[in-house]
Amino acid sequence: MTDIANQTEANVLPNAHTSATPPDLQVVNMAKHFGSLIALDNVSLHLKPGTFHALLGENGAGKSTLVKCIMGFYRADHGDVLINQQARTIDSPRDAHQYGIGMVYQHFTSVPAMTVAENLVLSRFESPNLIKWKEELEALNAFMADAPFKVPVEALVGQLAAGEKQKLEILKQLYLQSRILILDEPTSVLTPGEADEVLGLIREQVTDGKLSVLLISHKFREVTSFCDEITVLRKGKYAGTGAVKDLSVAQMAEMMMGEKREPQPVEKTPRTEAVPILQVEHLQANKDNGVPALHGLNLTVNKGEIVGIAGISGNGQRELVEVLAGQRPATGGQILVNGTPYTATRKEINQHCVFVLPEEPLKNACVAHMSVADNLALRTFDRPPQAKSFMLSFKAIRAAAANLIGTFKIKTPSPETPVGNLSGGNVQRTVLARELSSNHINLLIAANPCFGLDFAMVDYIHCQILNARNQGVAVLLVSEDLDELLKLSDRLLVISGGHFTYESEIETADFSAIGHAMCHSVH
C-alpha cells in the first residue's frame, strides 16, 4: 500500500532530491488547537526557493507547532501545504521527506546509545533491511569528506559534545538530501562562535542555490547576519513578513510584541563591604561515569555580588551546579552557606533561602507529568498557606499558581496542563516563576537562565537578576553566553576541564585572555 503510494509520488516528483533548485514551499491558512488553546490561527508563510527565511515570535507564539504541522508530526485542523504550487498532504515526516523537506528539532533526535554511523543509516527512510556495514561505512566516509562539517563516524552519539550533536542533526538532513531544511532553534546549544560557523556553512549552501532554509531563532544577530526574509507570528497569529534588509531590529521586535518597547536599563548599585554568602572549598565531584569532573574548586560569592562562570559546555559546569543543588554527591571538599556547612537538605534550603535555576529545567527542576500548578508549588506546598498541618489546600495551590502564571506570563492552556506539554520557553518561565517569586532569596544559583527565551523575556530575567543583586542577594551565574556574563557579572571566572583557569573583576576582564582560558586547561 505505502509502496504504491511512494511510487506514484516518485513519478510526480522525479527529482525532489536531485533537481537543481529546491522546491517552493507555501503554507496557507494553517490552524491547530490543543484542547481549548489555539496554537495556530490561520497562519500563512512563503519560503521561496534558495532563500534563508527566519520564523520569529515570542515563546509560545506557535513557531514549533507550525513547522511540526508542515512536517506531518502534528495534523493541522485545516490549511494547505503547497509544494511548487501544488497542494500536498503530509501525514508523517516520511511524507515530508518525499518532498525533500527535512527538520532539525528543538531537542536532539539522535539515539545516544548508537554510533554516528548507525544513526545516519537508520535515518534513511529507504535503507535496506540488511545493513552491509562495509559498504555503508565507505559511503559515509565519502559523504563526510564532502560535508561542510565533520563528525567522527564511529563515535557514540552520547559521547559527543552538544555542538557536535547539533552538527550531526544538520548533517543527517544533508545526508538525506533534503532540499528544504527547517531548523528549530538550532543554535541554542552552541556557543556564539560555533553558531556562526554552522550557520555560515549552511548560508553558503543556500547562496549556491542548493538549499532553502526556514530558521526559528530568538537571536536577532543571527537573523540580520544570515537571513533574507522573516515571517513573524504573534500569539498564534500571522503578524507580518518582510525582507531583512528593509527592517531594523527594533521593527522586527515591534512586529513580534505588537507594540514598541523601550529597554529598561537597571543600574548596578555600588557594593558595600564583602560578606561571603557562598563559600566553596576544594570541591571535587565525579561525572556520571565516575571520572572526576571537578578538581578541587575554590569559590566565594559575596552578598550583593554576581559571580559569573564562563566556559565551553561540558567542562564541569553541570556537575558544579548539581552538587550545589544537592543532586550529585561531592567526593571531596565542602560547601559553606552563611559560614555553616551546607548539604542541600530541604531544611537547609529553606533556612538559608537558596534558590536554583538549573539547566535543562524540564529534566532537572520539573516533574514533566505533573501539572503546571503542582510544579509551581514544589517549593511551598508543605508550608502554610498551601498546607494546613498535614493537609494540602489545593485551593491555595491553585490560586498561587494562577497568580504566578499571570505575573510571569506563562502561556499554558490551563494550570492543570502537564508541564511537559508547554513550549520550551514556557517550561523555563515556570521554573523561573517558582524560584524567583520568593521575597527572601539569599543565594541564587542560575545555569543558562535565558536558554531558549525570547528577547523580551531575556531582558526581564536580566532585570530580575540585577534587582536581586541590588537587594543584596548573592548570585552565582553559570552561562555559556559570554555577552550575558559580561553584562551582568561583577566578577568573572572561567572553568575549563574542571579547573578555574581565569578570574578577574569585570572592569579589568580581558576578552582575549578569557577566550584563551576557555580552551586551555591548567595541566
Binding site: 533526535t109 545516544p112 546509545a113 548507525e118 556520571d288 565516575g290
Partner: protein, 319 residues
C-alpha cells in the same frame, strides 16, 4: 551413581553436565527479556510465561501422543510450538496492558506472574501424574567416551543448541538489520524513533510478544527436557532470575549466553556435591543462584553511576 567411579572428578563433571542441561531455560528467558528490554519495556511476567510454557508443552505432548494419535516423535515438538504460542498470548496481554497510559511495567509484570502461574497450575492439574513423550537428546558423550558417567553428562538437547545459536544471531540482528536498529532506537530514545516515523507502540508490542515466545520455549525445555516432568515447583524462580541476568549481561545477547551458562553451572554445584556423597552444607550451594542474583543486584545498582548499556527509556511510563 556413576560419579562414584570417577571419585572427585565427578564434581567438575557434574557441574559441566548441569551447565549443559540446566542453562537453556535461563538462556531462552534472558534472550526474550533482552529483546523486550531493548525496546524499552520490562516484562517481569516471563516467570509466569515460563510456567505456562512448561505446562502447555507437557500437556500437548501428552494429549497429542495418547489421544490424538500423533507419533511420540513429533508430539513433543508440537508441545514446544504450542508453548511458544501460549507465551505469545501472555505477551500480548502484557504488551497491551503495559502500554495503557499511566500504567507501570513492573506492576503489570507482577500481575502477569500471578496470572500466568495461576493459570498454568489450574490447567496443569491433570498432567502432574501422566508421562508425556519427551524431546530427544543428542548423545555427544557416546562419540568420545565409553564411560557411562561421561555419556550421561554429555547429553545435549537440540533446543539448547538452538538457544546457543540464537544468541549470536540476535546480536547480529541488533547490529546489522534495520528492524534491530529500530528496536534499539525505540528503547533508547523514543522521541528520536518518533521523528524517524517509527510506531513506538507497534515495535514494543512485537518485541514483547517475540520475547514471550522465547520464554514459552524455555518453559517447554523445563517440562520436556530437564527436569522433564510437569510440577508446580518446576521453575523455582528461574524466570525472575533470568530478568536479573539481563542486567548482569548488560543487555548484550552474547553475554546473556555466558551469564546463562554461569547461572546454570551455579545451579548444579549443590547436586554435584551431593552426588559425590557430601551430605552437609550442600543446600547452601543449592541456594547459589539466588545468592548470585542478589549479589549482582547489589553490585550493579549504584546511585552514583548510571548503568552503561541500559536502554535509555527502560521502564518509563508513557502518557
Amino acid at each position: 551413581m556413576a560419579a562414584e567411579t570417577l571419585g572427585w572428578w565427578g564434581v567438575p563433571l557434574g557441574i559441566l553436565a548441569g551447565t549443559l542441561r540446566g542453562s537453556a531455560p535461563f538462556l531462552f528467558v534472558s534472550l526474550g527479556e533482552c529483546l523486550t528490554e531493548k525496546s524499552g519495556k520490562i516484562n517481569l511476567g516471563l516467570e509466569g510465561t515460563l510456567l505456562m510454557g512448561a505446562m502447555s508443552a507437557y500437556g500437548i505432548s501428552y494429549l497429542s501422543s495418547t489421544q490424538w494419535g500423533i507419533s511420540p516423535a513429533i508430539a513433543p515438538w508440537l508441545g514446544v510450538l504450542v508453548a511458544g504460542l501460549a507465551g505469545m498470548v501472555l505477551g500480548f496481554i502484557h504488551a497491551w496492558l503495559s502500554q495503557q497510559p499511566k500504567v507501570n511495567d513492573i506492576a503489570v509484570g507482577i500481575a502477569m506472574i500471578i496470572f500466568g502461574s495461576g493459570l498454568a497450575f489450574y490447567l496443569g492439574k491433570p498432567f502432574i501424574q501422566p508421562q508425556a513423550p519427551r524431546l530427544p537428546t543428542i548423545d555427544l558423550g557416546n562419540l568420545i567416551s565409553s564411560s557411562p558417567a561421561i555419556q550421561s553428562a554429555l547429553k545435549i538437547s537440540p533446543l539448547f543448541i538452538l538457544g546457543v545459536l540464537l544468541a549470536p544471531l540476535m546480536s547480529w540482528f541488533f547490529k546489522s538489520t534495520r528492524p534491530g536498529l529500530f528496536i534499539r532506537a525505540v528503547g533508547d530514545s523514543p522521541d528520536a524513533a518518533l521523528a524517524m516515523g517509527v510506531s513506538i507502540n507497534k515495535v514494543r508490542m512485537l518485541c514483547i510478544i517475540a520475547g514471550s515466545f522465547l520464554a514459552g520455549i524455555g518453559g517447554a525445555y523445563l517440562s520436556l527436557v530437564f527436569p522433564g516432568s510437569w510440577s508446580e515447583r518446576i521453575s523455582s524462580g528461574q524466570g525472575l532470575m533470568a530478568v536479573a541476568l539481563v542486567i548482569f549481561a548488560r543487555w548484550n545477547p552474547i553475554q546473556c549466553l555466558w551469564a546463562s551458562l554461569f547461572f546454570g553451572g551455579a545451579q548444579s554445584i549443590g547436586p554435584a556435591l551431593q552426588a559425590v556423597g557430601i551430605e552437609q552444607g550442600y543446600y547452601i550451594f543449592n541456594a547459589a543462584p539466588y545468592i548470585l542474583t542478589l549479589l549482582i543486584m547489589v553490585i550493579t545498582c549504584s546511585p552514583k553511576k548510571t548503568l552503561s548499556g541500559a536502554p535509555g527509556a527502560l521502564g518509563t511510563i508513557s502518557g
